[in-house]
Amino acid sequence: MDRVHSDQQLGIRQSRSYLPFLLVLIIASAIDLTAYYLLDRVSLSQPARIGAALLPLPGNLTLLLMILRRIRRLDEFQKHVQLEAVAAGFLATGVAVFIYGYLQKAHAVGALNMGLVWVFMVIFYAAGYFAAVSHYK
């Protein structure tokens, strides 16, 4: 009984530690969407447009710092898994961008949207993470 109780407490503690990150993620995403809306749908002066474009910067920098702090707190195994995931994300994105570049030269695809590069990276990072986790199970 003690064993189950202690495992449950551990689970609750771990899920609570993600709350500040999730909160900042939600706020930063809302600011991102607001900035996109302002730039896309609202008629603004040029200085105001620059201000709107830079609006997501503080939230995103906060997220970046929170992620770096989290990485420093990971244990050696988790750091190992993250290294494999980041390497997979970085290298596979490089390959994807290269291939896209060649396809562009072959006039098979249009110009690359830079936002897509980040999406590629996230997808490849997630694939790398799950591959690493299942490898060490």
Binding site: R3, S6, D7, E76, F77, Q78, H80, Y136, K137
Partner: protein, 74 residues
Amino acid sequence: MKNRIRVLRAEKDWTQAQLASHIGVSRQAVIAVENGKYDPALPLAFKIARAFGKNVEEVFLWEGGDGGPPSWSS
């Protein structure tokens, strides 16, 4: 590298989560080390051994072939 974590854990009646909490690492780390999928660095190996009140050599066995005779082979 072989290890006796599963046996020692059973002796103490600890779950993997409890051992992980005891030594301050994730449960995934304990699972990976216990299953022999991941060889820990020295600090983690010492932490695990100390958690069981053992020396590192009593918990981990090097199987590289160049590290001298293996122990607890019986």
